[in-house]
Symmetry: C2
Subunit: 221 residues, 2 copies
């Protein structure tokens, strides 16, 4: 049994958002908050928040609301952010380097233990205190260091080739930036995939912008 | 009235995915596909696909299925990908540069018309055929060139400061990588915001990995 069975994808995806906002409340000195106030700020309904949190035990107190710092810590724990799952990054190009510079893995449940690429121009460079290693050594590295997760910042063709090898070597989670829906390959396996399709997000923005501009340019209808 | 009123967020977010897969079918020489086959590959149900597309008129033919290239073109049109909405990028650090190198704006409904930063080390450099300009000139640039959209690759504090100025200058869409939910500021305005919270995605992966590992490490339950 998973630790939290029956949690829907939508509930799961709202947890990081709750966590972020609670962190923000802490930074601005808010010590407790009612589900109604929380809902107002985050753009949900109070009952949705209560219902979401009820999957994990529920944390508020009638008439008091939520203690901000303890709810923040609880959700962090639920998300596994207090873990240090070993993670590797494959593909130290622009995107890979941006992710290395941009993300604080330690505060998000991971510990970066290796960076891999094939490009001789980047091999040996140091990023996040790690030398960039040649991908040829990847399989042996996994055997020795047992990464639980991998960040794929490589093209589609490379991802298709490398992912099954990593799964065979024990990798159980992919943060996938390649333009390829890895999740479909692994849907029957115990492998989690977060596909990040930045293009989908930009296309959604295009839809919303054009759909709205239609509104502006057509005042008659 | 928007061009496509009553389209839910979920439907809207599935469109880019349909578009991607259809593009893939085209590349591999698939000329037509039934909603059942399409559903199988994309991991949805046939009736969901049919229902989603019915918001835009419905495109399949009973007994024939979908013509792949014409459905691809239709969805591209619905998404506005055949438009050239002027877009600017603010913040040419690692993340901004990765986005410039990684995204093909022209195939996604946008035309990049300006890049801005404050860092003297990057000013004047060329990226995507554009010189990186000083942010001080941003307001005047908007007055002259009327960007419809902006990509924010700047810290939270800068985003909070710059976004309202851009909105005043006519920007109607933000692709927001700053760690700040801009959408909440503009929820009553005609402004579209796509917040990209990479951290949320990584936290979700952490949850899924740990929730699953619990499963592996606890064979008794």
């Amino acid at each position: 049994m998973p630790r939290y069975p029956g949690v829907s994808t939508s509930v799961m995806r709202r947890l990081p958002r709750y966590y972020r906002f609670l962190g923000e409340f802490m930074r601005t000195g808010v010590e407790r908050i009612s589900s109604r106030e929380f809902a107002e700020i985050i753009g949900l309904t109070a009952s949705q928040i209560r219902q979401d949190l009820s999957h994990f035990g529920g944390f508020g107190q009638q008439g008091y609301g939520y203690n901000v710092s303890s709810l923040h810590a609880e959700i962090g724990h639920i998300l596994g952010l207090d873990q240090k799952q070993p993670i590797i990054l494959i593909g130290a190009g622009n995107l890979g380097m941006a992710i290395l510079n941009y993300m604080n893995f330690q505060s998000m449940g991971f510990e970066l233990i290796g960076i891999f690429d094939r490009d001789p121009r980047v091999l040996g460079r140091i990023a996040q205190n790690q030398p960039i290693l040649h991908s040829d050594g990847l399989s042996e590295f996994c055997r020795q260091h047992r990464p639980a997760a991998a960040i794929l910042c490589i093209p589609r063709s490379a991802a298709v080739e490398i992912a099954p090898i990593l799964v065979e070597r024990g990798v159980r989670a992919f943060w996938n930036f390649s333009h390829y829906d890895l999740s479909l390959d692994f849907r029957d396996k115990m492998v989690s995939v977060e596909n990040v399709h930045l293009g989908d997000s930009l296309m959604t923005l295009s839809f919303r912008l054009n759909n709205m501009l239609e509104d502006i340019s057509d005042p008659v209808s």
